[in-house]
Every structure is written in structure tokens, then in C-alpha cells.
């Protein structure tokens, strides 16, 4: 039965169109993700691709290891040396690029220095140029100090309770120091574009899954289906199984292909580095590695796909409307984007199912929730909450569909 349910889904012309769109989207997103990592050669030319990633990896891995005070001082020395070179001081852009090509190897560490010695909410690209050898020893302390300063600022007054503030500070303190650093641009690029590909998967799979529980009504095949011996039990279960197989297979095939392409081109290295390494996640309070961030992102995306698409299947089982089923993923994904400007809604928006599709972004967001005496971030809450809701949704879907009356 499940085989025939799958056949019903994949034989439709619209399914072939949707899968083609997804394949094209995968190629486009992969192209952009690969372009996220660029290398400037000694002549000042910008390149992307396998060779560029390999050259950048070689440059960055010259600085691989723990970022101790000695390493930071060495970065400042190298930075100052390049800043005094004729290429850097030249007014010609190509000359400036040549100077930058020498900084690429320690650019991530330089970015962290900019972050540490700038203010919490702003970024000054040239801040590292003025940090002294004496100051640099406070590098790790500055990260926490910036957070404390920001929490006490007028701008943040009353936003976080005392307990939440203590939680954030404790999380910052808990981060293992010194950081271990190595080239991790492959993971960074992979994660940067992961939400896009995950969202595309949920939107396109929505078209395939929408008909599983509504086609019988649209095609007027409902009477034969529900009057059959197994039409109100095993055949319903077969539909749920088919939905699960479609959602799971399309999601994981796409994610594995996307991850495989990006990591093969840009490199697998740096999986064990803390996400706070580099520019993007310096402020994140989740103390996890790139690999853990990736696993959270893809597992969260999978759970989000399951929840959103089974919710749309539930809606179609209840209303017999395919149009409603197709629109549910769009509603759940785009409505929060429109409401994101309303700050009072930020806590609620942080718990909506679209967040599961962008765990990488949620990891960088300061959404905190207090459950009893415990303060927790949004990520563990949404993972637990939507897993439970999904588990509730399955028997509900089964019951609603099996009790259908044909009027």
C-alpha cells in the first residue's frame, strides 16, 4: 500500500516539476555557498572554488592551534608589519588586495580581536590595528566584559531578568579557553546557507505532501477508498508512512547532497572548533562546535520539515483542501518574517516552527526563556516542543482521517 501511495505522489507531473525546481535550487544555493569562501592570491586577484579553498586552507592552517596570548601577539605583530608595507599604504586597490592576501591566514583571529576590543553591538574592522601588545592579554576577558556592559546598558534595561543575565554570563564563562583554531570556512559556508536550502526543501516538499490526504476527495476516489476493508486503518497508516518517507527522503537526500558538495569543495576541516571562532558567531552563548552546530541545524531542519509538513497534511485531512495544505508551509515561514520587526513579539517568534529551519540563526540569537528556576535558550525548547507536538500530531492525523464521512 505504501508503495502505491508513493507512486501516486511521484507519478504526478507537478511532482516532477517541483523536484526539478528543488534540484536547480540546490545547485544555485551550493554555488552561492561555495562563493562565500574566497581567496586573494599574491597578485591581488580574487578567486573562488576548490583551488581557492585549498589555498586559503593552507594559509589559515599556518595559524592552526590554540589561540594563546603568544599567538594573539604574533597576529598583532604580523598585522602591524603588513599595515606598514607599501602595498597596504598604496592608494591602488590591487596593491591593497596584495596586502590583504598576506593577512588572510590570520584574518579570523584578527576579526575576533576586532570583536573583542570593539563594543558588543558594533564592529570596527580597523580596531585590531590599534590594540596594543599589553591589551591583548585581556582578549578572552573582553568578550565577557562586553556582554556585561551591554546587559547593563540603558538599551537593554529590563530586557533580561537578573537570572537570565547570570545565565548568559555563565555561558560565556563556560566557553573553553583558549580557543582551538583551524580553517573551518567549509563549515561556516555550509551553515550560512543551510537555512536557505532547508526552507526550499520544506516549501517544495509541501507540494508533494499536500495531496497525500486530499487527493481522494479532489479526485472523488474517497468512496472507494473508505469503503475498502483496510480503508480506515492500514490504508491510512500507509498514507502516513508515505508522507514520512517523502519528507524524510527528500530532506536527507537534499541535505546530504548539499553538505557533500560544499564540504568537498571547501574542506571538512575545523569541525571540532568552537563556533565562536571567527566573525559570525563570536557573541553566541551556545558553547558548541561547528560539527555540533551542523548537527543541530540539520536535525532541527528535519524536525521542522516533519512538523510543518505533517501539520499541512493534517489540515488537508481535516478540510480536504489541497490548497490549504500547500499554503501552510508558506504561512509558517513568511508570516514570522513580516512580524520580526515588532520587538515585543521576539520571544514568541523565537518559538515558532520556522526557527527549526534556521537553527544556525537561532544559535546566534539571544532569545531566553525561564522555565521554573531554569533559564534556557530557544534551541533546546523548540527541539523538545516540536518533537512532542509532532508525536501528538501523528495519532491525531490518523484518527481524523480514518473517521472521515463521505457526505
Amino acid at each position: 500500500m505504501t508503495y502505491f501511495e508513493l507512486k501516486k505522489i511521484f507519478l504526478k507531473p507537478v511532482s516532477r516539476i517541483v523536484l526539478t525546481i528543488l534540484a536547480v535550487s540546490l545547485c544555485v544555493v551550493s554555488y552561492f555557498a561555495i562563493g562565500y569562501v574566497d581567496y586573494v592570491d599574491e597578485n591581488g586577484n580574487n578567486t573562488i572554488g576548490i583551488a581557492a579553498a585549498s589555498a586559503l586552507r593552507d594559509e589559515k592552517n599556518k595559524w592552526a592551534g590554540y589561540i594563546t596570548d603568544d599567538v594573539l601577539r604574533k597576529v598583532l605583530q604580523e598585522n602591524a608589519l603588513i599595515n606598514n608595507s607599501k602595498e597596504y599604504l598604496s592608494k591602488d586597490v590591487t596593491e591593497n588586495n596584495k596586502a590583504y592576501s598576506k593577512k588572510q591566514g590570520f584574518s579570523d583571529i584578527r576579526d575576533m580581536i576586532n570583536r573583542a576590543f570593539g563594543s558588543f553591538q558594533s564592529y570596527n574592522y580597523y580596531r585590531a590595528d590599534s590594540v596594543t601588545q599589553e591589551e591583548i592579554s585581556s582578549f578572552y576577558d573582553r568578550r565577557t566584559a562586553n556582554l556585561v556592559e551591554w546587559l547593563k546598558s540603558d538599551e537593554q534595561e529590563n530586557r533580561y531578568s537578573e537570572q537570565e543575565q547570570q545565565f548568559l554570563i555563565a555561558q560565556y564563562e563556560k566557553l573553553k579557553k583558549p580557543f582551538y583554531y583551524e580553517y573551518a570556512d567549509g563549515w561556516a559556508a555550509l551553515l550560512e546557507y543551510a537555512p536557505s536550502i532547508i526552507m526550499l526543501v520544506v516549501l517544495t516538499t509541501g507540494f508533494l505532501a499536500a495531496g497525500i490526504f486530499s487527493d481522494e476527495f479532489q479526485l472523488k476516489a474517497d468512496s472507494v477508498f473508505f469503503s475498502a476493508k483496510l480503508g480506515r486503518d492500514k490504508a491510512v497508516a500507509a498514507k502516513i508512512k508515505a508522507g514520512f518517507i517523502v519528507v524524510t527522503s527528500i530532506y536527507w537526500i537534499t541535505v546530504v547532497l548539499y553538505s557533500g558538495i560544499i564540504l568537498t569543495v571547501l574542506g571538512f576541516g575545523g569541525a571540532g572548533c568552537a563556533i565562536q571562532n571567527g566573525f559570525s558567531n563570536w557573541k553566541a552563548f551556545y558553547n558548541i562546535t561547528y560539527l555540533q552546530d551542523y548537527l543541530l541545524t540539520v536535525l532541527g531542519g528535519y524536525l521542522g520539515n516533519l512538523f510543518i509538513l505533517f501539520l499541512s497534511m493534517f489540515a488537508s485531512a481535516k478540510t480536504h483542501s489541497k490548497a490549504l495544505a500547500v499554503s501552510i508551509p508558506f504561512i509558517l515561514l513568511f508570516i514570522p518574517s513580516f512580524l520580526s520587526g515588532i520587538s515585543v513579539l521576539s520571544e514568541v517568534l523565537g518559538l515558532l516552527p520556522d526557527q527549526l529551519l534556521q537553527v544556525y540563526t537561532a544559535v546566534k540569537t539571544f532569545n531566553l526563556y525561564q522555565i521554573g528556576d531554569r533559564v534556557v535558550g530557544a534551541v533546546p525548547i523548540i527541539l523538545t516542543m516540536y518533537f512532542i507536538l509532532f508525536c501528538i500530531l501523528l495519532p491525531l492525523l490518523y484518527q481524523v482521517y480514518r473517521k472521515t464521512e463521505i457526505k
Binding site: M1, F4, K12, S227, K229, E405, I406
Partner: protein, 295 residues
């Protein structure tokens, strides 16, 4: 096989579609006759467990069919009025799928599918997609799917609607051939289909069975007589105003009217045996002519 409808009622809000029906059916072909909105489809849907009654019960060999659940549906084959299908499936795929949801084991399903495809004359179209079949061929697929589980209760809702005369005759013969050792309930607007095939006729009006019996019993219940009246063209209008006319046949010089009346409608009138069409018109009146396929 014995189906007992005990005070069976189905209402949709204030509207009562099936009104306290008490009926017992055993093996044989039952023809369900009634105008649109009489409650035929609602009754059939309840018999297929697609709708739950708002009152009364249906018993199959003494057991409530809704409590029997899958055990009862295993006995049922149903061809609905609006028979939908999966357009991208081939005839074989479709029948294999329906066999699967009917709980027919794959090996049996293969054998049964091939048999039925041949029986309904679709051997050459077995690998054709359903969306490419003609209306008649689709109805034949419909009867094949209803027969897949070799049902003891076969419920056919308007099985010949939209078929050309050849297809209808073929279909009627097919249904007659299937009626051995099973209960067949056949609903149709096409009176002649029932006249030719049904052992017992059930006449339904406003949700109730108003008359039932064999063809002879039904025709004998009509208190008025049927008259064959050849009349000149100019008298047609006055007769149709005064009497129920079940047929008007125009020749070059005169018109042959079939009139239902207790008294002799004109001098030339000859009393003839009533047909089921006459009975239908008598019981259902003007409404009987509302639908294209009635006569």
C-alpha cells in the same frame, strides 16, 4: 447473506435524507428507484459505512455493520455514482492498489485482477493510464474494482450513467452474471436497467421506501390503468393537460400516446399492461421527467 435495515435514519441538520427505513435484503438483485434527492445515495453510503446513521442500525447477518468495521467492509464492493480514479495509474496499477486496500493478498490480487480485466473487456487497455480511457471503459474499471474482493454485498450507484446503449447492455449482462450468491443493490435513474436485471424493486421517495416487490408486484400495485391512445395531433394538448402521459410517439398522420388513467381517456384508447416506467411516472409524477436519463 442478510442485511437488515432497522429504522434507519440519516439527517443533515433539519433535512432528513433517509427516513426510518425498515428493510431486509438477502441474496439477489435489488433495484433502487427514485428521483434525484430521494435519498438513494445517502442510503448506499450508509450501507458502505461511508456515513453513520443518525438513527437506527444496519445489521449484517445479525451484527451491527459499524461494529464489524473492516470485517463488514471485507464483504462489500462499491461502485459510487461519482467514480473517481488516480489519473496517472494504469488500469492494472489501479486495481492492484484497490486490491491492496481491500486486503487481498498480492498473489490472489494478481490473479483476480487479470480475471476481472478480461471479464470487463479491458485486456487490451490493461497498461493504459486511467486518464486515457473513455467514460465506458472507466465504468468497467469501476465494476472491476468493486468485484476485486469477490464481495458478498455489491452496491452499485448509477453504474450505467453516461454509457452508450451497447455499453449499458453489456453492463447489465455483466451485473446479472455477478448476482449469483451475492446481494446486489443497484441504484439507477434508468428504469429499463432495473426492469431487466432486478429481482426485487425498491421505490424510494423523500427518504422512505414507498413501494417494493417484484416487477409484477410493483406494476400490480398501480391502481390506475395504462392506455395506448392513437390520437390526431390537435388532441394531444388537451389529453396531456388532463392525464399523466408516460410516452408520446409522433407519426406522420397521428400521435400515439401512452396514458395513465383510471378511466378510458379517449374513444380509440386500448388498455395495455403497465411497464415499470409507467409505475415510476405514476408514483413520482412530474419530477420523474426532470432528469435526462429517466426514461
Amino acid at each position: 447473506m442478510k442485511l437488515v435495515l432497522d429504522n434507519l435514519t440519516k439527517g443533515f441538520g433539519e433535512f432528513v435524507a433517509v427516513d426510518h427505513i425498515n428493510l431486509t435484503m438477502t441474496n439477489g438483485i435489488y433495484g433502487l428507484l427514485g428521483v434525484n434527492g430521494a435519498g438513494k445515495t445517502t442510503l448506499m453510503r450508509m450501507l458502505c459505512t461511508l456515513l453513520k446513521p443518525t438513527g437506527g442500525s444496519i445489521y449484517c447477518n445479525g451484527k451491527d455493520i459499524f461494529e464489524m468495521d473492516g470485517e463488514y467492509r471485507n464483504l462489500v464492493g462499491y461502485l459510487p455514482q461519482d467514480f473517481g480514479f488516480y489519473p496517472e495509474f494504469t488500469v492494472k496499477d489501479y486495481l492492484f492498489y484497490i486490491a491492496a486496500i481491500k486486503g487481498v493478498r498480492p498473489a490472489v490480487a494478481r490473479k483476480r485482477t487479470n480475471e476481472l480485466i478480461t471479464k470487463v473487456g479491458l485486456a487490451k487497455a490493461a497498461d493504459k493510464k486511467l486518464k486515457k480511457l473513455s467514460g465506458g471503459m472507466k465504468r468497467r474499471v469501476g465494476i472491476a474494482q468493486a468485484m476485486l474482493n469477490n464481495p458478498k454485498i455489491l452496491i452499485l450507484d448509477e453504474p450505467t450513467a453516461g454509457l452508450d446503449p451497447n455499453e449499458r447492455i453489456r453492463f447489465r449482462n455483466l451485473i446479472s452474471g455477478l448476482s449469483e450468491e451475492r446481494l446486489v443493490l443497484l441504484s439507477t435513474h434508468i428504469v429499463s436497467d432495473i426492469e431487466y436485471t432486478a429481482n426485487e424493486i425498491l421505490m424510494m421517495k423523500d427518504g422512505a421506501i414507498v413501494n417494493k416487490g417484484t416487477l409484477d408486484e410493483i406494476t400490480n400495485t398501480m391502481p390506475e390503468k395504462v392506455w395506448q391512445c392513437p390520437v390526431p395531433q390537435q388532441e394531444v394538448s388537451s389529453i396531456t393537460k388532463r392525464y399523466k402521459v408516460s410516452n408520446i410517439k409522433t407519426d406522420r398522420h397521428s400521435v400515439d400516446l401512452r396514458v395513465i388513467s383510471a378511466e378510458k381517456p379517449c374513444e380509440t384508447a386500448v388498455c395495455v399492461s403497465p411497464s415499470l416506467e409507467d409505475v415510476f411516472l405514476y408514483y413520482f409524477g412530474e419530477k420523474a421527467g426532470d432528469d435526462n436519463d429517466v426514461l
